[in-house]
């Protein structure tokens, strides 16, 4: 009994480690009034240690705590994605939170709590663990969105996010309730054993559908996307960055685990629904992004569109899709964190100055930043040799192999539309003269380092995708 408990605890070390780390940082924050260096460094080192733990338990594939949490393999890989996102966010935000007057110690431990939530969300094999993870991830984010509470836009964003988020979580729980009502268990693996019988039960399918609504809300898929632009634009930029990468990654990881890897709803009505969500997200996200003038808002719509691409993978199902979506998440995480990071560098202290026009002449002022942002834009389009290309490629291949050629075609056509608005940023940066109000980027050594890591990552996995692909393949 004790032995089992010990093994389980060791195998879930990354999650346990993050809980401990979060609490440590809370205590540090509570007990001292110094500047934030201690919180920053403890958080960063702690995250790196936890990445190490995740790598260490990677071979321990299985479950822990009577089959309610997944260990090793998939759980490790997703944990590494979230932890990397958290580490990069903290580094990129180091100077930023100071600039916008949000240098509260809470910033760090809230990020850590969110990360802990993501890890439980994506590793939960009991619907209740999944749900607790979802809430642990979401609630600190509501606070983070409004952390500059004297900024009206941020406050509005936080409130909208909170209300709609709570609403969608309601759907999620109701779905879990219906599934429990049908099956008498919340253990995902137990449910999966009889999935064929349940798949013909409307009650079960509606329960799954309601859970899907919750997932769709978190990933920002149309028609549950409306919060995305308002919240991304209003929240502090690095919080939006973390939301668009970490939270999306977590929601997709959990969705993959529950719907693709275990329940395996191949060719059922759920797939039709997911396909519809996917098409709607790709079309609306890409078209609406065309008319955006604010960089953050444009990235918000682009993130809706990218959710649509990844939903192609969910629709297609199967092992290639899982690897494809995970790869896409890694590529998207690095690219988008970097893009938001650069926006945060040049932002004004009152959180304005993120219009696309504010990037005019960036190449003259900060050639390196402009080139790197150009790389990110090309990667978001999905042009080789950048990471975004292979992300799209794997997903398209998975879709065609599973008979969803039409979805691929929609994906390709909408990608073509996206060329326009991503390139506009490049044109503005390189080819347009500077505006009157020139903003000088502030980012510090930490920010520069994190940005370099993101850019190098986008290039590296674009040229040598195996670096990531070997990790994300054959996880199930």
């Amino acid at each position: 009994m004790m032995e089992q408990l010990l093994t389980d605890s060791l195998n879930t070390a990354p999650i346990t480690g993050m809980v401990i780390l979060s609490l440590i940082v809370v205590m540090i924050n509570a007990l001292k009034k110094e500047p934030l260096a201690t919180e920053y460094w403890v958080s960063l080192v702690g995250i790196v240690i936890n990445i190490g733990l995740a790598v260490w338990v990677f071979p321990e594939r299985g479950t822990a705590f009577s089959g309610s949490v997944m260990t090793g393999g998939y759980a490790s890989v997703t944990a590494i994605i979230f932890l990397t996102a958290a580490a990069l966010t903290i580094m990129l935000a180091r100077v930023y939170i100071d600039k916008i007057g949000a240098n509260f110690g809470e910033f760090f431990h809230l990020i850590l709590f969110v990360t802990t939530g993501m890890m439980s969300f994506a590793a939960g094999l009991d619907l209740l663990v999944t749900f607790v993870g979802l809430e642990l991830m979401s609630i600190p984010l509501y606070v983070l969105a409004g952390i500059t509470r004297r900024n009206l836009k941020a406050t509005e964003a936080a409130l909208k996010y909170f209300l709609l988020g709570a609403f969608s979580t309601g759907f999620f729980v109701y779905g879990i309730g219906l599934i429990y009502g049908m099956t008498g268990t919340t253990k995902i693996l137990d449910i999966a054993q009889n999935i064929n019988a349940y798949s013909s039960e409307p009650l079960f399918m509606v329960g799954a559908g309601l859970m899907l609504v919750g997932f769709a809300f978190k990933v920002g898929a149309v028609p549950f996307h409306m919060w995305v632009p308002d919240v991304y634009e209003g929240s502090p930029t690095m919080v939006s960055a973390f939301m668009s990468t970490g939270v999306k990654a977590a929601a997709f990881s959990a969705l993959l685990l529950v719907f693709t890897a275990t329940f395996d709803f191949m060719h059922s009505s759920i797939n039709t629904v997911v396909a519809v969500l996917s098409v709607a997200s790709m079309v609306i996200g890409n078209i609406v992004a065309l008319s955006q003038k604010n960089f953050k808002r444009m990235l918000a719509y682009s993130s809706i569109a990218h959710a649509g691409y990844m939903l192609i993978g969910i629709t297609a199902g199967g092992g290639v899709s899982i690897a494809g979506v995970l790869f896409y998440l890694v590529a998207y995480m690095l690219t988008n964190l970097g893009a938001f990071g650069i926006a945060s560098f040049i932002e004004n202290s009152d959180q304005t100055g993120t219009d696309i026009d504010d990037f005019r002449g960036l190449y003259q002022r900060h050639p390196a930043l402009a080139v790197i942002l150009g790389v990110f834009m090309f990667s978001l389009i999905g042009l080789p040799p950048f990471a975004g290309f292979f992300g799209k490629y794997y997903i398209f291949v998975a879709a065609i192999e599973n008979g969803y050629t039409w979805l691929t075609i929609v994906g390709v056509i909408t990608s073509m539309i996206s060329v326009y608005y991503y390139l506009r940023v490049v044109v503005v940066m390189f080819f347009q003269p500077e505006g009157e109000q020139v903003q000088t980027a502030r980012f510090g050594r930490e920010g520069a380092f994190a940005l370099a890591v993101a850019a190098a990552g986008v290039l590296l996995i674009g040229v040598f995708p195996s670096v990531v692909l070997d990790w994300v393949s054959a996880l199930f």
Binding site: P202, M226, W227, P229, V288, S291, V412, S415, V419
Partner: protein, 769 residues
């Protein structure tokens, strides 16, 4: 290694080229040209290796998980293109060194040029289609950067974007086509596809794959209706036009078609699509070239026309046509590259590109004039230049075409005649005649400016006089790659007097006539202006200009910013999806066995309904919250009736806290403002009622499911023996699920502390602005 090493080295050179900013432009040009020059010579020595279908494969693992490798193939067609890329590339680099000698950003320019060169080499040497695609897109990006090189000009930025959008669209289509090909053919390696070509042609995905690949090739090679980006791309500096937009990049589409001919070719679809698109492009390109007066635009449209000829020849799918295509490819690259460079020199040295202003330049620019004469002669197809051989072969191929040969011949003669006129306008007219307008200004450029065009022009002459130099060694292996079988290629200058020769003569006569009548032709063409909207370029602009506006209108509808609108959408989607499932699926009898309903429950339910109505009609928030509280406590009471005291206690505590928190918050809110209009209220009421109905239906259904494991029996049986308690509920609360209870108590305590802290803060702190 033959393939990978040059690409890698040139890429490395591209990375370091910006450092050459400090070096004088001409020195940098000469120095950089050594690299492709050396590889050009090295590749020449490899010619014997590709004779008779010889090939070299080189493979490095890249993404083993997906079976994609860095595989390169070195054979006839690849070698022909690689030699063009490297040879013309070396000359263009020298030329660019002179052209941009004092330019402030020449380092960047060289970097982009080398990036393009490496990518283009990659395109022609890659054996894996995905690898080819990667390089393909890299050429688009490099082309974008080069067209937009004069960043201060609005026009060049627009053109750069236009070129990238069109070729980028095509590139994505190509990717889709490649993936379909991979699925249908089972591999992405061209070498492997060659052996399974029969299966591919009968596969259901053949046609979609073919169409998508053609879309990619046509956009890249500026086929009608995607031709309009190429004249726009003339905003680029002259070396770019000479290199990318005549000799190499625009031929990538032609290369791809030639390369895939053995895999995709031989079907009716292939034949008709290619000859039709190619033929149309050939004629329309020539037609559009006629009224132009700008040197570079004249050349651009005639390039469009020439690209059409190449595509059409590949579409004919005969040995003769393949031979003609390969020869014409070389011919065209030689003369068009030279003429573009000449146009650049004229622009650079004489300050104008308008043919109406240029004359008599031969006296001041003898070397440039010589280069231009040679190139123009080759372009007119005059013997003994290589252009003559190319045109003879082309006519012969058309005569023996499987169908519509008369039509093809007429179109061919027309297009060629226009090209002859263009050749005379560009290559002869500026150099002869009266003295230059501003003789003091126009003067011969440095050697770097005229060497490239002169060498290319001489190439046309030498290969024309001695066609055997390239016939067996270069053209034959390339034709073999296109046809996937051995084809004897013996190029000869003189074939005797035959119909083909007559056609050539006729073309020259018509062409010269057109040249003489060019002024009138321009006037006629000016009157014949097609409405711009009907032209693809106009359509493109319409679409690109209209998109942001349309998107803006869409935003106003889907993104109003109102939370209630968002909630409304989500609820409607929920009702539709869940309601649809409910109606569609069978097996939905609602379990009506509710058992006895007690008097108390009925009373409670009536009370709760009344409270709900209260919430809706309340005029102040306080009343609404009080009514909400009644509903909550009503639920707690129902739990009590159904013997679930633990739930009831939790519910009462939570409800109390919620009401309290509400009260704290509403103190700070303004009074109820304007109420929605009656129609809006009705609409919301409908949505609310339906949401309630759907949720109720599913709850009813859920309660009807019989669970296998009845946990209640376990507690009832074990309560006394295991926990020594007769009251089962008490035992559950404090024993079986003691930890849960503790957790609940803790949560409530923490929440209460939080509420208390908020109250304290409120008093101390200022208001949020």
């Amino acid at each position: 290694m033959e393939s990978l090493l040059p690409i890698l080295l040139i890429l490395i050179a591209a990375a370091f080229a910006p450092l050459l900013q400090r070096v004088p432009g001409r020195v940098a040009g000469w120095g950089l040209a050594l690299l492709p020059g050396a590889f050009f010579i090295h590749f020449l020595t490899l010619l014997p290796a590709v004779q008779n279908g010889g090939e070299r494969l080189f493979t490095l693992p890249w993404i083993p998980t997906l079976g994609i490798s860095l595989s390169f193939r070195f054979e006839g067609l690849s070698l022909l293109f690689a030699l063009l890329v490297l040879g013309v590339g070396a000359l263009v680099l020298v030329y660019a060194g002179g052209y941009l000698a004092g330019h402030a950003r020449r380092g960047r320019f060289f970097s982009f040029m080398l990036l393009f060169m490496a990518s283009m080499l990659g395109v022609v040497l890659a054996d894996n289609l995905l690898l080819l695609f990667v390089f393909w897109e890299m050429t688009s990006i490099a082309s974008y950067l080069l067209i937009g090189f004069y960043t201060d000009k609005e026009k060049s930025r627009r053109s750069a974007l236009q070129a990238l959008l069109v070729t980028g669209f095509g590139g994505l289509a190509l990717l889709a086509g490649i993936i379909l090909t991979g699925v249908a053919g089972g591999s992405y390696d061209i070498a492997a596809l060659l052996s399974s070509e029969e299966a591919l042609r009968t596969h259901g995905l053949y046609l979609p794959a073919l169409l998508l690949i053609l879309l990619g090739a046509f956009t890249k090679s500026a086929q009608v209706p995607f031709h309009f980006w190429l004249p726009g791309a003339m905003a680029a500096p002259a070396p770019v036009s000479a290199y990318l937009h005549s000799a190499t990049m625009v031929k990538a589409g032609v290369y791809l078609l030639a390369r895939l001919n053995p895999v995709f070719g031989g079907t009716e679809e292939w034949h008709y699509l290619l000859t039709l698109a190619g033929g149309a492009t050939m004629v329309i390109g020539a037609f559009l070239a006629a009224p132009q007066t700008d040197l570079k635009r004249l050349l651009a449209y005639s390039t469009v026309s020439a690209l059409g000829m190449l595509v059409m020849l590949i579409g004919l799918s005969t040995d003769l046509a393949a031979k003609a295509a390969m020869v014409f490819l070389v011919v065209h690259s030689l003369y068009k590259g030279a003429l573009f460079m000449v146009a650049g020199v004229i622009d650079h040295q004489a300050g104008s590109r308008d043919v109406r202003e240029l004359h008599g330049l031969a006296r001041v620019m003898p070397f440039t004039a010589a280069a231009a004469f040679l190139a123009a002669l080759s372009m007119t197809g005059f013997p003994p230049l290589l252009g003559f051989i190319g045109k003879e072969l082309m006519y012969e191929a058309k005569m023996q075409a499987p169908s519509a040969s008369v039509f093809l011949l007429v179109a061919g003669v027309l297009a060629n005649a226009v090209n002859i006129a263009v050749a005379l306008i560009v290559g002869m007219r500026p150099f002869v005649g009266r003295k230059p307008v501003r003789p003091g200004r126009a003067h011969e450029g440095p050697v770097s400016l005229w060497l490239g065009p002169l060498l290319l022009g001489l190439g046309g002459l030498v290969f024309g006089l001695f066609p055997s130099l390239i016939g067996r060694t270069l053209i034959e292996p390339a034709v073999q790659s296109v046809r996937a079988e051995h084809v004897d290629v013996a190029l000869k200058l003189w074939h005797g007097i035959n119909p083909v020769l007559m056609l050539s003569l006729l073309t020259i006569v018509v062409g010269v006539l057109m040249f003489l009548l060019r002024l009138r032709a321009r006037r006629v063409a000016a009157e014949l202006r097609v409405p711009e909207l009907l032209l693809p370029g106009g359509l493109y602009r319409r679409v690109v200009d209209a998109l942001p506006g349309a998107a803006g209108r869409m935003v106003r509808h889907v993104q109003s910013g109102y939370l209630r609108a968002y909630l409304f959408t989500i609820l409607v989607v929920f009702i539709l999806l869940a309601g649809y499932t409910f109606l569609k699926l069978p097996g939905w009898p609602i379990d009506t066995g509710f058992g006895d309903v007690s008097f108390y429950s009925v009373g409670l339910v009536v009370l709760m309904i009344a409270a709900t109505i209260m919430v809706l009609v309340a005029r102040t928030r306080l009343v609404a919250i009080a009514a909400l509280g009644v509903i909550g406590f009503g639920i707690a009471a129902i739990y009590v009736i159904y013997s679930a005291p633990d739930l009831a206690i939790t519910q009462i505590l939570v409800e109390t806290l919620t009401v309290l928190i509400f009260l704290f918050v509403i103190r700070h809110l303004p009074r109820f403002g304007v109420r929605s209009s009656v129609p809006t209220q009705l609409r919301d009421a409908v949505v609310a009622v339906f949401s309630g109905i759907v949720v109720t239906l599913y709850s009813l259904k859920a309660s009807g499911v019989q669970l296998d494991t009845a946990i209640s029996t376990f507690f009832a049986e074990n309560s006394l023996p295991a926990a020594f308690g007769r009251n089962v509920v008490n035992v559950i609360l404090v024993d079986f699920r003691a930890m849960d209870t503790l957790g609940e108590v803790t949560v409530l305590a923490v929440a209460a502390i939080g509420v208390y802290a908020m109250m304290k803060l409120r008093r101390g702190n200022g208001r949020v602005s």
